[in-house]
Every structure is written in structure tokens, then in C-alpha cells.
Subunit: 258 residues, 2 copies
């Protein structure tokens, strides 16, 4: 049955969506059947993969108890890669979930049937930039949290907070199997001292968690979503594609040790 990886960090703009979409494609390209779940009301992963946001077509219905998740899954252009899109109404889910029993387990329930579908090996969940009920649902559905960390000072500040939430969810029993899968360093700019300082800081405090592949800052990565393409379609021979391919190999060998 598929493993679930939440790609999260409450700090905004740190590469969660870019990592979800490009890692997902890299996994699929190496033969690992992968589903991307867009749990952000901004629906950036949905449009980065070339899909329109359509009311009623996405995770909002299933997570609020209307219909099944698997009927909302769509195939992408790439083999072995599927998407469960988002829509603007998902922003309302934060308020709607609040009053319900088991409000932290709604996504977990949605995904439990999916894990056996499509022959999936991996489900990646793109989280919004908060620690609200949507992100908490992702963490309660996940086997691993993958933190993306921009090589900047303000991003470093919030790292302890999200790692602390994982401990709380595990210890409270909301998700006793949740582990931190790793920290992926993004937007590494080798022209700035700041990037090296942040890299060293994370390497000192979390050496076991940090993946050794740095995703470089590359304008191709920020151009690709405007064409609805992943980096492997838009600039397959460039530094962004190379880095995400290497990161994918690292993540697979860590989560699926042979």
C-alpha cells in the first residue's frame, strides 16, 4: 500500500509546491506510481501541472464528506503520475472542519481507500503555508513529513516550530507513526554567503534529516509553472531537473530502503 508524504512548512514561499510537482514527476519517471494531492486553496500545484481549478473537481468535496477522493483523481500527461486537484472553495474547509468530530482525520480517511488504487506507491501532499486544519490533516494522514527549507534566514526561524508539531501529533496519538522524512534545501544561491550560512546551520543541527542535494535557485524552475509544465518537460537538461532527479533518488532510497 502506498506511503503518504506531506510536503510542508508554515513559512511561505519556500518551494513546497515546486518540490511536490517536480519530485512527483521524477518519481513517476523512475517507475514509481505517484499521486499528487493539492491541499492548498491557492491550487498552485494544480496549475503548475497544467490543470484548471474547477469548482467541484478536487479534494474539497471528499474532505468535507461529499463524495469519494478516488473519483476526483485525474491522470496527468506523464505516465505513473496522477493529481487530486484543489479549488478555491477549499479555503472554507478550515472553518468547516473545525466543528466536526475527528476533524484531524478527514484526509486520512479520504486517502485510505486511494492507497490501494491505481497501484500507487507514493502519495505526495502539497500543504498550504500555515499550521491550520488543512496542514494538520496532511500531517495526520502522512507517514513522513518532508520539509522544504529555503536557504534564507526567516525560513530557518520557523523550522523548529514545524518539527515540534510533528512531535506533538505523534505523542498525542493523532498520528503515532508520523516521522520527519527529511529536510530538502531549496533556492540555494551559490553567489551568496547567506545560503552557505543557512546550509551549515541546518547541517549542524539536523545532520541526519538534511538531504545532501541542494536545489539551486534557477529561473527555469519559476518559469515552468507558467507553461503548466514540470521542470522535466520545460528544461530537462538544466540544473533544476538534475537537482530534482538527484533529490528524488535520495528520497526513494530513504523511504524505500531495498
Amino acid at each position: 500500500s502506498a506511503i503518504v508524504v506531506a510536503v510542508g512548512n508554515q513559512k511561505g514561499g519556500v518551494g513546497k509546491t515546486t518540490t511536490t510537482v517536480n519530485l512527483g514527476h521524477a518519481f513517476a519517471a523512475s517507475g514509481v506510481p505517484t499521486l499528487i494531492v493539492d491541499l492548498d486553496p491557492q491550487a498552485n500545484a494544480t496549475s503548475a501541472l497544467g490543470f484548471e481549478k474547477k469548482p467541484g473537481a478536487g479534494i474539497y468535496g471528499p474532505i468535507t464528506g461529499n463524495g469519494s477522493a478516488s473519483e476526483q483523481v485525474q491522470a496527468t500527461r506523464s505516465e505513473n503520475l496522477w493529481i487530486l486537484p484543489s479549488e478555491l472553495d477549499l479555503a472554507a474547509a478550515e472553518l468547516e472542519l473545525g466543528g466536526q468530530p475527528d476533524y484531524l482525520l478527514k484526509l486520512r480517511e479520504c486517502l485510505s481507500a486511494l492507497k490501494e488504487d491505481y497501484g500507487l506507491s507514493l502519495i505526495l501532499v502539497d500543504c498550504p503555508p500555515t499550521l491550520g486544519l488543512l496542514s494538520m490533516n496532511a500531517l495526520c494522514a502522512a507517514d513522513y513529513l518532508l520539509v522544504t527549507l529555503q536557504c534564507e534566514y526567516l525560513a530557518l526561524e520557523g523550522l523548529g516550530q514545524i518539527l515540534g508539531v510533528v512531535d506533538q501529533l505523534r505523542e498525542s496519538g493523532a498520528n503515532k507513526d508520523l516521522k520527519v522524512g527529511g529536510i530538502a534545501m531549496t533556492m540555494f544561491d551559490n553567489r551568496t554567503r547567506l545560503s552557505y550560512d543557512v546550509w551549515e546551520e541546518v547541517g549542524t543541527h539536523y545532520p541526519q534529516l538534511m538531504f545532501s542535494t541542494a536545489i539551486p535557485r534557477s529561473v527555469r524552475l519559476s518559469e515552468a509553472p507558467s507553461h503548466g509544465q514540470t521542470i522535466f518537460e520545460y528544461d530537462p537538461a538544466g540544473p533544476g531537473a538534475r537537482a530534482y532527479r538527484n533529490l528524488a533518488d535520495e528520497v526513494l532510497s530513504r523511504f524505500f530502503p531495498q
Copy 2:
């Protein structure tokens, strides 16, 4: 009485905090008494101004009905500049506010007494990267929304959404005086075509709203918060300080027409 400006955008990492802190200092330096309210549980504006996050010292108490906002205001090192800090507990406010009557007007009530204090002319509110109850409170307390827009494709996608929310709040009567004060373009990188494309796109659709000063991408701006300094303390003669000084002049002439 002071005017209130919410600095917001649900897209993460688009320069909301960097703009709030540096615009605030620029206003103060030109003799405009300014208060910065950190309404983000990440408390980035608090640490960027050199303050520690301390439980009980911040906006969380007042916005949930405990104590007054004005007793939480602290003076910064800079003349004419004060801060109302944030703290981690503020994340709980989203859930706590949900059930109360007038839950959208809590911040407005907190700030109404403050407007007459300290001889303030301007209150800047740094918003979290969502359209949840904290950001909605900021919009309901504000005279103007200042949108910061990173010169990237994914940031452009969300612009219509936040502008739409302003219309809804105005038309529903939650805040009938709310106006969009302007769009400040941030992290403009003159080496990439993408920045020019986004600039042109916004200029075509929102010519009246867009400020003509582009904030350039500059590593000094992302280094300054690690020293708890604004750009005017850290690199006063550099391109970041020049741009924020120019933007401050534009904003003041638009909001306080002589």
C-alpha cells in the same frame, strides 16, 4: 487619527514582512509616527525588528479579549517607530475567534483605542500567508490593503483572489471603507525575463494600483533580519534602502495627499 494599512497576500514568501518592516522604518525616518502590528504567528516582523517572541507579549491576548492592545506596544530603537509583537500562541487565535460574535472585528476593536495613542499617523499590519480569520481581521480593521507581489508567475495567479476578497468585505458591509491602496512589486530581478513579463502583466491589468517603484532582489534585504535590523540600519546606502525609501514616498503621497 491614524490610518490602518494591511500588508497582505495569501501567497507565501512574497515580501509582506520585508515590506512592512522596511516601509515602516522609512515612514518613521521621514517623521511619520508609525506602529507595526505583527499579525503572523510566525512572528517574522517581530524578530526582523530585533525583538524576541515572548508568550503573553503581543497581539494574541488583546485580539482574544485579554487585556488592551496599547499595553503591548513597545518602542523600537528607531524614533517614531513602535511594534505590537506576535507570539506562537497567535496560531490558536484562528480557531478561538471562529465561534465568537463579531469575530471579524476583534482587531478593529483592539486598534480603535490605539489610533489616538502615541500621536500615530500610520498603523501597518503584517498578515500571515492565508485568507483565514487573522488576515480577515486585518482587512476589516484596515483603511487600505497594500498587496506585495513577488515578480513570479505563481504569485501573479493569486492576485485576483485577494482583490476579490476586498470587494466582498466592502460589499457585505464588514468593512465598507476598505480600499486597495496599491500593489508593490517585490524581488524584481532585472536579469530575468520573467520579472519583466510579470511587471508588464500587472501594469496592463492594474495600472492605477501598481506603484512605480520596483523593489529589486537584493541579498542585503534577506540578510538584514538575521541581524534584527531594517535595511536602513544594515545597508543604508544600498539598492534595497533606496527602493524602500522611494516606495515610502509614493505610498505617503497616495495615502496622505497634501
